[in-house]
């Protein structure tokens, strides 16, 4: 299997796709307003038409490049190109002001590589072991895992827990459209043959993420054209010798672990990882007062941890089929369309693809290091392309992507409808990420619930008498209760503040 994976990844076309993915990812990541999620979502339909490994390799390149590109604008424009680079601005901005923008960029790229690499190794060692445990899972366990995963919604809900839950439930509701699992009854199709197959994940993703953003750009067109002041930079090598870089080893390891941990926990994401690693580093530093004044420590913490999220977030996806963020949800779409179903059997059934993903990640990481550094001048130049030209082109690609998913115009209309829905959600301050998670988990939840109950002849006790299932239900309850308590506490503080 490993040999097969090697031969698939190290063929020139696949390597080329990884390279294209990394470069486009970096571009989307570096330009504020274009997100790495957008890049993934746009290229997902294109990956459908490719050989499975090639399609997945392209997505891997986009994911990795997208997270890494954010540091360029975080340092030069003081605007994070992706939310993951938010903490990079804290010290990257001041470093640029001191004339050390080059050093900040160099170290940022280097440390992104190291963080990514450590997390890829974690993924390679943790996921086979974990998948042996998940081999013991039956429908009952999967139902409980799905319930636990649905509680992710609580942590993705931002300030409004209730609206987040409603959004997630709405996602569950639209996942019911089409042919039902088990008995194949048509539900909520209103006689429309187009709806028999249900909605496409990619169509919803494109609508809610890309189209909504473009509509908002229309409403804020004055602010998208304001030019941020770009700092110039000078850089030789990576701005720091390797020997000097590795004197920060404690920081590197701590931040990588934070990133991997946050990645594994569903629903938290790169921006929290970078903030958390930054805070952890500051608190344990001998000179916490210097943080925020432009020191390299802050950049290392932020950029190591956000890239370490990549490997971490793929662990629950590969072993249990649970997407913890939008990027991994896109991945899940890419895998399932090629008939690769993540879960405990993935190593046996589609082992070559899993090893292929590992290899593609390593290759993409190396490409990122080389090409982000070598092409830095070009990426910096691209920041000058006005957004009023870029966004319409992105919109055209969105429609194209939706059309190419099935070659039917119905999907194109759905993209518009979901774009409007995302827009209304945003206006009413209803978070839209829970909708995606609810939609994706909908089928898994219902199918396993029904299968488990058939197995137990209708007895609900199956979910609490099987130990692993019970453990997941308990974790789900605990995580749900904690989310409610957090929400109540934040409500109190806001109302006291008014």
């Amino acid at each position: 299997m490993v040999m097969e994976a090697i031969s698939m990844i190290f063929n020139p076309f696949c390597m080329f796709l990884i390279l294209v993915g990394v470069i486009i990812g970096i571009i989307f990541g570096s330009i504020p307003g274009l997100s790495s999620t957008m890049a993934l979502v746009l290229f997902l339909p294109m990956s459908f038409g490719m050989e499975p490994m090639n399609g997945i390799a392209l997505l891997v390149g986009l994911y990795l490049g997208g997270i890494s590109g954010g540091l360029i604008s975080a340092i030069l424009l003081k605007i994070p190109g992706t939310p993951s680079s938010i903490a990079t601005v804290f010290d990257g901005g001041p470093m640029a002001d001191k004339g050390e923008a080059g050093k900040a960029l160099g170290v940022g790229i280097l440390t992104s590589f190291v963080g990514g690499l450590i997390s890829i190794f974690a993924l390679m060692f943790i996921s086979p072991t974990l998948s042996k445990v998940t081999l013991l899972f039956t429908s009952a366990e999967y139902f409980s895992v799905a319930i636990f995963a649905l509680t992710i919604i609580a942590s993705l809900s931002g300030n409004s827990l209730i609206k987040g839950i409603l959004s997630g439930l709405f996602g569950l509701a639209i996942s019911l459209v089409g042919i039902a699992p088990v008995d194949g009854i048509r539900r909520f199709t209103f006689g429309q043959p187009q709806l028999y197959g249900g909605f496409e994940t990619v169509v919803i993703l494109i609508g809610v993420y890309a189209v909504t953003d473009i509509i908002f750009a229309g409403f804020n067109r004055n602010s998208i054209s304001t030019d941020a002041v770009k700092t110039t930079y000078e850089l030789k090598g990576f701005g720091m010798s390797l020997k000097e870089y590795f004197t920060y080893w404690r920081n590197i390891i701590r931040s990588s672990l934070v990133g991997i941990g946050i990645g594994i926990l569903p629903g938290i994401g790169g921006s929290t990882a970078s903030l958390l690693a930054y805070t952890a580093e500051k608190n344990s530093s001998k000179y916490p007062e210097k943080f925020g004044t432009g020191i390299v420590d802050g950049i290392i913490a932020s950029e190591t941890s956000n890239n370490a999220v990549i490997g971490g977030s793929l662990i629950p996806l590969i072993t249990m089929g649970i997407p913890g963020n939008v990027a991994t949800a896109v991945f899940l779409g890419g895998l399932t369309i090629h008939g690769i179903s993540p879960g405990p059997l993935i190593f046996e059934k589609s082992g070559k693809y899993v090893y292929g993903i590992f290899l593609a990640l390593i290759v993409a990481n190396i490409f990122m290091l080389i090409f982000e550094r070598a092409g830095l001048k070009l990426f910096v130049k691209l920041l000058d392309i006005p957004k009023y030209i870029l966004l319409p082109i992105v919109m055209v690609s969105c429609v194209l992507g939706a059309y190419c998913a099935n070659f039917r115009i119905f999907d194109v209309w759905c993209v518009f409808v979901f774009g409007i829905l995302g827009f209304i959600f945003k206006l009413l301050k209803v978070p839209s990420t829970p909708l995606i998670i609810g939609f994706i988990l909908g089928e898994m939840t219902e199918l396993n619930l029904r299968q488990a109950l058939m197995q137990s002849a209708g007895s609900w006790s199956i979910f609490v008498t099987r130990p692993i299932s019970l453990i997941f239900l308990i974790i789900a309850v605990v995580s749900g209760v904690m989310a409610v308590r957090r929400s109540v506490a934040s409500r109190k503080t806001t109302s006291q503040g008014v």
Partner: protein, 157 residues
């Protein structure tokens, strides 16, 4: 719309959705002996939607207009640009198939760039060139390079 009104609006919409789903789900009867049927899960989802939405409604009423003050309108917010963008995208997807990819895309790109671009930076000839080149490039790539047919439309190209 104030925060409170938004909350009430969201709750009412979701309660209606829950009721609608529940009524629809009553039609799905179990087909197999020991299966709960295809109506069970939608009913559960509908009930949870109604419950949570009602809770949101009650919380909204309890919130005695503390933050009822009208949200400060961002001075950058621009209704014309926004609604024209929505309309452009709507028309674009509507005529995508009938007019064909090339013409609809070139026209959409040109108009959308024009709408998003600030007046002082408008460069109509350049926008025209960008729109046409981009559409032709994408069309050629898809149709000739990777053999994916795109809508040809009434004019046959």
């Amino acid at each position: 719309m104030s925060h409170k009104k938004k909350d009430i609006f969201v709750s009412v919409i979701f309660i209606a959705l829950g009721v609608f789903m529940y009524i629809q789900s009553m039609n799905f009867k179990p087909l197999m002996n020991n299966d709960i049927g295809s109506g069970f899960f939608p009913k559960i989802v509908a009930i949870v939607i109604m419950t949570i939405a009602t809770a949101n409604l009650l919380l909204a009423f309890k919130n005695k207009g503390e933050d009822d003050a009208k949200e400060a309108k961002s001075k950058d917010s621009d209704l014309f640009g926004g609604w024209v963008t929505v309309a452009l995208i709507g028309i674009y997807v509507l005529v995508y198939n009938s007019v064909g990819f090339l013409i609809s895309t070139a026209a959409y790109l040109f108009l959308q760039i024009l709408v998003l671009c600030p007046k002082e930076k408008r460069n109509i000839p350049m926008f025209g060139v960008i729109s046409v080149i981009t559409s032709v490039f994408i069309y050629a790539m898809f149709v000739y390079a990777i053999n994916m047919p795109l809508p040809r439309g009434i004019f046959g190209f």
